[in-house]
């Protein structure tokens, strides 16, 4: 009896395979997704996969998504350095489907594919600004619910057609989407973008008193341009920030390293200087004055001179003047930026969340929720102080 029992156990150990075995070549690995709204003139082809024709529940402003998926072609992607004759148009495969929802579109895509769709390696999700301006929550639910999607994937917004971003086939790397996601990753490393990947964006979406910022990109033929940030109010995109404004946001968040140089021209002088911040420190402090929150943002920047043109006369006196001008100039641009954000009612710095954390009683009595906060945030008293210090000037004395 006992012998048989052991035999059964042994058989179970050695005869069983893995239930969830899917070999690499049996998977359709989606590396990137681009989500557009289907235009009216497009020849929208909808299969009856998740619903019969005309049976999809009608809602107001029904959207039809156009999903472009970039699939990795197994076996074509080289690992490591390889001989030069593989070009990127062989390693990926672009497929377009339509659907009323994300899953609907993916189900339609699955219908066309032999392999099982696998989202575990998804690198980036590009969304066109049409969708972003109408609100992102409808496309987020599927991505949040599906266990394969990584929270570390990148979410990008692009003005115009998102599909064009995926068409970018850079000559220097074999997998376009890897190149694109590396563009963003490196932009974060160089301080050009905040670290706003999918998981972080989701957290910002659900937090009270914080609004999301999502990298904005622009297709440039075979590569992409990091075009600043799109800022949101709850789930809706309300505006965009240029790269310089992005730098200002990063400065106010006190993030290092700094990625953007700034042009500064002291008044009544010929010289124009390019300053690059090296170390930044920011302190957002709050006080409650007469039952109203008052915000004080203190930014400290240490930088160096990168370029000097139209003149050649740097000295310690000059530097002092330059520091003053840079501080004043910076302060002004930060203030304008904050005004713009307040006007659009987008609290990307998380001032609301800080108020909520520091003055819970005030929040629960006066603000209550996001809506209440926007009303207060609009006319919030925000003061900015910027202290620019220039530490070095590079290899030139003057």
């Amino acid at each position: 009896m006992k012998k048989h029992f052991y035999l059964v156990i042994l058989a179970a150990l050695f005869l069983s395979g893995c239930w969830d075995r899917y070999e690499l070549e049996e998977r359709a690995t989606i590396l990137a997704l681009a989500i557009d709204l289907a235009k009216e003139y497009e020849n929208v082809e909808m299969y009856e996969v998740t619903h019969s024709n005309g049976e999809f529940p009608k809602v107001e402003n029904q959207r039809i998504y156009k999903l472009t998926a970039q699939l990795a072609v197994p076996g074509k992607i080289m690992l490591g350095p390889e001989g030069g004759n593989t070009s990127s148009d062989e390693t990926d495969w672009l497929l377009v489907t339509y659907g009323y929802t994300m899953k609907d579109a993916l189900a339609n895509l699955q219908q066309e594919l032999a392999e099982k769709i696998y989202l575990g390696h998804i690198q980036l999700i590009v969304v066109s600004d049409d969708i972003a301006r109408e609100g992102l929550q409808d496309i987020m639910d599927f991505l949040r619910r599906d266990y394969e999607v990584r929270r570390t994937a990148w979410l990008m917004i692009t003005e115009g057609e998102a599909q064009k971003v995926l068409n970018a086939t850079p000559p220097i790397q074999t997998v376009p989407s890897l190149y694109l996601s590396n563009t963003l990753k490196d932009a974060v490393r160089f301080g050009k973008l905040p670290k706003e990947f999918l998981g972080k964006v989701w957290i910002d979406f659900s937090d009270e008193g914080v609004d999301a910022i999502i990298p904005l990109v622009k297709p440039k033929g075979d590569h992409i341009l990091v075009d600043g940030l799109a800022y949101f109010q709850e789930y809706k995109m309300v505006g965009k920030l240029t790269p310089t404004e992005t730098g200002a946001v990063l400065a106010m968040q006190g993030l290092n390293p700094a990625g953007y140089s700034n042009v500064v021209k002291p008044e009544n002088q010929k010289g124009v200087y390019l300053l690059k911040p090296q170390r930044r420190k920011s302190n957002i402090s709050l006080t409650l004055v007469d039952g109203k929150p008052k915000v004080f943002i203190n930014v400290k920047i240490e930088g160096f001179v990168e370029e000097e043109i139209y003149t050649n006369d740097l000295s310690d006196k000059k530097l002092e003047e330059l520091e003053k001008t840079a501080s004043k100039f910076g302060e002004k641009s930060l203030e304008t930026l904050l005004k713009k954000l307040q006007q659009d009612q987008s609290d990307i710095l998380g001032i609301g969340a800080r108020v909520r954390a520091k003055y819970p009683k005030y929040w629960s009595e006066q603000v209550k929720d996001d809506k209440g906060w926007y009303a207060i945030y609009k006319d919030l008293d925000v003061q900015v102080h910027l202290d620019y210090k220039i530490r070095r000037v590079g290899m030139e004395w003057k």
């Binding site: 266990y147 929270r151 957290i203 954390a357």
Partner: protein, 364 residues
Amino acid sequence: MKHTDSISSIQLAIIIASTIIGVSLLVLPRFVVAEVGEAAILACIVGLFISFMSVFSIMQLGKKYRHHTMIGCNRLLLGKYVGNFFNFLILIVTIIIMGLDLRQFAEVLASGLLPNTPIEVSILLMIILCALVGYRNVSTFAYIHVFYLPFLLIPMVFFIFAYEDIEAYHLLPILGHQLSLKQFMSGAIVMTCAITNYFVIAMLIPYIKDYENSLKNSIWGFFLGGLAILYTIIICLGVFGVNEMEDMYWPVLSLSRIIQIPGDVLSRIDAIILITWIFAVFTTLCSYFFVIVRGTAELFRTDHYGFISTLMIPIVFIIALIPNNVYEIYNYAIKVSYIGLFLFIILPAGLFIIGRIRNKVGVR
């Protein structure tokens, strides 16, 4: 009964630590946060303290009745009938909790790792694994815990890499938003309920070699396990914040998906965390099974441990399959754990007091 095997008090401490780090770890942060919001950290500490009182009373009870397990104590102090009634209740509740924990485990596997594997298979394999441990020998059981503890604790270090994403405004205000004391305590009780499984030490008391050190060491063990749970909750809350955590099912699993190890050594650590968690599940379920098997054996005064553990496999298996969906599992689990709260926290303290009043002396 004559006991030839014994465990040291350090082993006892390790058993406590690796038992309380268990199935609930994955979902516990969410439940505490859903109750009390930002006050989760404080609620967690208070909850741990309540449990700690119970550990303390169990150890004190053990000091007085050196040669009795909880089952024996019940019988000795409450009389044959009442005592056995409670013993039955303890066993039934433990069986149900184990079943539900198993189901949670299988559900996580099904929705996060192995979507096509039938949950029956993962449940059954886990029960068989637990049953194979062999409960004749207490020291074997202790060694299993000692062996697995490093596997539970070391991968938790990875969570520290999420520190960059921790926002202070997620953790503040530390007292939560307009919490009444009742709400706060309900959060603390969730915490307490989730870790009632340290109760296994009440079954181990007669086997401890150096009882004089055991109180101190059991406090350390409890402290270690509690700290690991607290640390997980702090990181989860700091990274996700209250609203995001309420939206998620298994925040720790999501946390492991957000962590990026510097230098890109590992691109995904969620697999490692899941495997760690499977170890944690195994050690915790082992403890439950230990209580079930040894408890039943003592209740019926036999030592056919192998027979009992085989008998228990289908029972636990069926209980694990009762809930219809993920929401039901947690509804049942919360209800049962309130009964558990009485059995595992109030009962030991009550027995301790009764022991004082009746002044019974334990028998060898």
